[in-house]
């Protein structure tokens, strides 16, 4: 047991060192690496309720978009009138000082983490009574509705979009902005990972699994399933909000349906990444997100105009050949490496029955 822990320690410290060194090693890829961190966070937290709890949600994009708008709004609103900012030209009139910029984004991210969590609680209370496909369809509507509503609110730019505060001009180094956003996203990634890992070792996860495997039985055993389902979703919302806030600052321009409440892309991607890697595993979403990002960045340039066809093919391949994801596939092939003991007698007995 101790030896395993030591191995883990080496693995984790290696990963953290790699993560810290990455923006310097691959300076040109900072933005892509930031995207990768965010994608992993989204996949990992989606897995919490999609994989562990068995509630497939397309609605996490709601929290992501909400976080994005909130961070930007707070960052502007703390120092300047928001309405004048979003009307064209505000960015030129009002300039954040370095201190204001970082204070703003700090408070903004805090709000972006808390508010979506509360919203998830409220919405969860209302709709987590739905099960299976009904829940999935309902959450699909959430993201779309949010996009249309945000597109009509003048104070956050409506259809014109919202230009987030530019990185302070006093910091001359053009690399600084990329580094700042990378380390911010890496920090969130580490936090999210530690949190999910903690959950994996807790009773909470077992309860989520019980809900997934048989909700009625779980209820019959005295588990207050509704309470746990809501808390599970709130955990996802917390990190989705943070991820959204970072992305808003990084992209620099928020559009209601294409950037913030981007259910068609981000909303689907996070599900896809988790499934690709393997639902209901700790490392699955991490590997899924990494592979997906590499596939997307590496291959898509070479098949201009056909990327979505390739994506479609990828989805078909995943569903047909790796229904349990890469981790699930590995687990089936090499169960002993996952610490699963196979009872040879039992296995033989099963074969004989056939």
């Amino acid at each position: 047991m101790n030896a395993v822990k030591q191995k883990d320690l080496i693995l984790y410290s290696g990963l953290i060192i790699l993560g810290l060194a990455a923006p310097f090693l691959f300076s040109a890829f900072k933005v892509q690496l930031t995207y990768l961190c965010v994608l992993i966070v989204l996949a990992m937290t989606w897995n919490l309720q999609g994989g562990e709890m068995g509630y497939n949600s397309f609605g996490n994009i709601l929290f992501y978009g909400l976080g994005m708008y909130l961070t930007a709004s707070v960052q502007v609103g703390m120092f300047f009138p928001l309405a004048e900012w979003t009307e064209s030209g505000g960015e030129k009139t009002f300039v954040h000082t370095t201190a204001q910029y970082f204070q703003g984004i700090g408070v903004g991210l805090l709000v972006a983490a808390i508010v979506p969590t509360i919203v998830a609680g409220a919405i969860g209370y209302a709709i987590l009574g739905l099960r299976g496909h009904y829940f999935a369809i309902c959450t699909l509507g959430l993201g779309i509705a949010a996009g249309e509503i945000a597109g009509g609110i003048e104070i956050i730019g409506a259809g014109q979009g919202f230009t987030t505060p530019p990185f302070p001009a006093e910091i001359v180094d053009p690399e600084a902005r990329g580094q700042f956003f990378y380390f911010l996203s890496f920090l969130v990634l580490v936090l999210a990972f530690v949190f999910v890992k903690y959950i994996y070792g807790s009773r909470f996860r077992l309860i989520l699994n019980a809900i997934r495997d048989n909700e009625d039985k779980a209820e019959a055993m005295g588990i207050q399933t509704m309470k746990y389902k809501i808390v599970g979703w709130m955990c996802s919302a917390f990190f989705c909000g943070l991820a959204g806030g970072i992305m808003g600052g990084l992209i620099g321009y928020i559009d209601s349906t294409d950037v913030a409440f981007d259910g068609r892309e981000m909303g689907v991607f996070m599900v896809l990444m988790a499934i690709l890697g393997g639902k209901g595993t700790l490392w699955g979403p991490v590997i899924g997100a990494t592979l997906f990002h590499f596939f997307k960045e590496g291959l898509w340039t070479f098949i201009l105009g056909w990327q979505y066809v390739a994506l479609g093919v990828l989805i078909v391949v995943i569903v047909v050949y790796f229904p349990e994801g890469l981790m699930g596939w590995l687990r089936e092939k090499y169960p002993d490496r996952f610490g699963e003991v196979i009872d040879e007698k039992d296995r033989k007995a099963q074969v004989e029955i056939k």
Binding site: V31, A158, G159, G161, W300, L304
Partner: protein, 413 residues
């Protein structure tokens, strides 16, 4: 578990190696090529206009390269463009701009299609001090941000249909008119709307319907039903290509009678071809028309451009293609005047641009917008079954008289 750790180590080192091997940057000028970068919408909701833009760029690159290329420091260089597909998504566009600059080492950019995407890319090019000549981002708010490296060869969006309102007031005997308008929820169309609001205020006109249309614009029957009931003097619609097509389709289906119909993107939508007689009398804002008398030595005039483009791509060039071609002429001119590949020198040369192209005069204002070229309005007119776009305003180039009011559907054959 032991082997699992090993697996991860292999996995991660593989990634590290791949990244490191492609990390080396390329040069902005390779051998005899000047490499430009552009993120273009080849898929997604702007795909048709994205292709118009790309065709415009390609046509100009080919022409300039064939006619001697770009002369800098006594040597002749050729243009080359690296394209990526931004999927009509601002997030993707910003990411690709970063990629073009940081990984492909591009030092000069051409704009994407649409205002929203240009808005997403401009902060990136500005940050790295990369000069960008763009031909398809008309939103006024692009030019009020104090960008120093953004240059647009087109007139700002708020000017698109202002003239149409003036025209309507004029036809109404100088009296204010009642306006019904419907605009897509995006940066460009919302700016066109601001222009109309200004014009309405100036002329004392009243806006009686002010609708917002969704981005995937396939239905505007609700707006048209209101138009039928309230009978406004002018109906203004803007929503890129889909907006123009949807409007004409549903107006003809629902037989909506309105004295004047003003739109954008009629030629990009090939309205006169696709909807023929149903689109007759529609008034359209355009950045360019082949009948204008501008000239340059690469494309000759508008008519020649029209002919060459048709030969190359098999359809008549919409203004989106023309302005995209013009963007490369501007770049060539600036490189030659700067006589250097120093980004800031090229930027200063761009700033001082004052030239005529087949597409129009180009001179950049303080915000980077083109101040030397007016917008034009054309009207779709039909003879028998063939319909054509005829310039009706401004009077300097008008080939036909503006037909007003539009006859009722019951009187149209």
């Amino acid at each position: 578990m032991n082997k699992l750790v090993k697996l991860f180590t292999i996995f991660i080192s593989a990634i590290t190696l791949t990244l490191a091997s492609i990390s080396s940057s390329f040069a902005k000028v390779e051998g005899e090529y000047i490499v430009l970068g552009s993120a273009i919408s080849l898929t997604g909701k702007y795909s048709s206009n994205g292709v118009h833009t790309q065709n415009g760029y390609n046509m100009a690159v080919e022409r300039i390269n064939k006619m001697g290329g770009v002369n800098v420091g006594g040597k002749s260089y050729k243009f080359e463009i690296i394209y990526y597909d931004d999927e009509s998504n601002p997030k993707r566009a910003a990411q690709l701009a970063e990629r073009l600059i940081k990984q492909d080492g591009v030092h000069y950019m051409l704009g994407p299609y649409s205002s929203g995407l240009t808005k997403a890319i401009a902060p990136v090019t500005e940050k790295y001090k990369i000069p960008m000549v763009e031909a398809n981002g008309a939103s006024r708010s692009l030019f009020t941000k104090g960008y120093k490296y953004l240059f647009a060869v087109l007139s700002p969006a708020n000017q698109y249909l202002e003239v149409a309102i003036d025209l309507a007031v004029e036809k109404n005997g100088g009296k204010p008119v009642r306006i019904a308008q419907a605009f897509e929820q995006d940066a460009f169309s919302q700016d066109v709307r601001l222009g109309i609001l200004d014009a309405a205020k100036r002329t004392g006109s009243k806006i009686i319907i002010d609708d917002k249309l969704p981005k995937e614009l396939n239905d505007m029957a609700a707006t048209l039903a209101k138009v039928k009931a309230t009978k406004p003097d002018v109906l203004v619609v803007s929503g890129h290509t889909k907006g123009a097509l949807t409007a004409i389709r549903q107006i003809s289906e629902m037989k909506v009678d309105v004295p004047m119909l003003a739109m954008t993107h009629c030629d990009a939508a090939k309205l006169s071809k696709q909807h023929g007689k149903n689109s007759e009398y529609a008034l359209c804002a355009s950045q360019w028309h082949k009948n204008l008398s501008y000239k340059d030595k690469f494309f000759g005039g508008g008519k020649k451009y029209d002919k060459d483009f048709k030969k190359e791509f098999g359809y008549a060039p919409p203004y989106q293609s023309a302005e995209s071609s013009a963007a490369l002429l501007v770049f060539k001119d600036a490189f030659e005047r700067a006589n250097s590949f120093d980004r800031d020198k090229v930027r200063d040369a761009l700033k001082a641009t004052d030239m005529q192209t087949f597409y129009g005069n180009i001179k950049f204002g303080p915000g980077g917008q083109n101040v030397a070229k007016p917008m034009i309005l054309f009207q779709v007119r039909c003879k028998g079954d063939t319909c054509e776009n005829k310039v009706v305003a401004p009077t300097k180039w008008a080939s036909d008289k503006f037909y007003h009011p539009i006859p009722k559907w019951s009187e149209r054959s």
